[in-house]
Symmetry: C2
Subunit: 138 residues, 2 copies
DNA sequence: CCTTGACCTTACCATGATGGGAAGGTCTAT
DNA sequence: ATAGACCTTCCCATCATGGTAAGGTCAAGG
């Protein structure tokens, strides 16, 4: 099968398949006489694995590690779990960060009349002119 | 004051100050005879505004809009509130996405023995071999 | 046999926001 | 005068992805 079909079946764009090959995440496939890349079901399976890992927010580097462990039949599941746990922690840190932003902004939006007058607590906060920087006592 | 001091006082790196100037977010400052950029308290105030907006997750583009509104004394606060509200919605979408990832991964990690044996539900999920893709009924 | 359109190939550029470094000029304190 | 800390511009790298351009290939149909 050609790269376009592999892309369709895996959900990974042809562009990205070539990229993954270039950075060594997947091995170069066979080529036809006319230099077309040829993929089989196994390659598509690997691409699906990659797609799923990326969807779950693993970086390409983490995905490479998971892929290595997947191919290693003797690996310990503990290793995989460590990668996943570390990733969960990173995700949670990011979530907390975003939630902090939402909290601050929500507070400001609530304080803002949102009318036609120029007075605006949101800008005042950004400018650092007013005393309160962030919701403290709400 | 030179760019280094402006950087210290605003929390924006000298590198980024030059970048913001390059992309037109801030206007080019005066220069000394020896071509050094010169900043005053007003410029630092603008940089602090930018820093705060970026910290709250506004893109540079959104920051530019907010900056424009800040400088416009006649603007309506409604405009500012709209930008902030839109941004909050985007942040919340992102949070929900990350939470979805965490949920799926947590489920998988719980199912994984994490011992020295090669059996690993996490890899099984990534590979798409098992029936359940994602916690459905848990 | 030839054309058309869909596909493939490589190579280069762009994104967004930031950091790193090199090569060279300037300023300040000793 | 010299050392060291600063400044200048210019180029490159990141991370994952998309776009585009120029050219080769293939299958179907006239």
């Amino acid at each position: 099968m050609n790269i376009g079909q592999a892309a369709d079946q895996s959900g990974v764009s042809a562009k990205m398949i070539r990229y993954y090959e270039q950075i060594g995440l997947i091995s170069p496939p066979l080529r036809t006489d006319s230099n077309y890349r040829v993929y089989g079901p196994d390659e598509v399976h690997v691409l699906r694995f990659i797609k799923r890992a990326r969807t779950l927010g693993f970086s390409v580097e983490e995905t490479a590690a998971l892929l290595g462990l997947w191919k290693d039949r003797t690996r310990a599941s503990a290793e995989v779990r460590d990668i996943a746990s570390t990733h969960i922690a990173a995700l949670e840190t990011k979530i907390a960060e975003l939630q902090g932003m939402v909290k601050t902004l929500s507070h400001l939006v609530h304080c803002c009349a949102g009318d036609n007058r120029p007075d605006c607590p949101i800008l005042d906060d950004l400018a650092g002119t007013s005393a309160q920087q962030t919701p403290k006592g709400h």
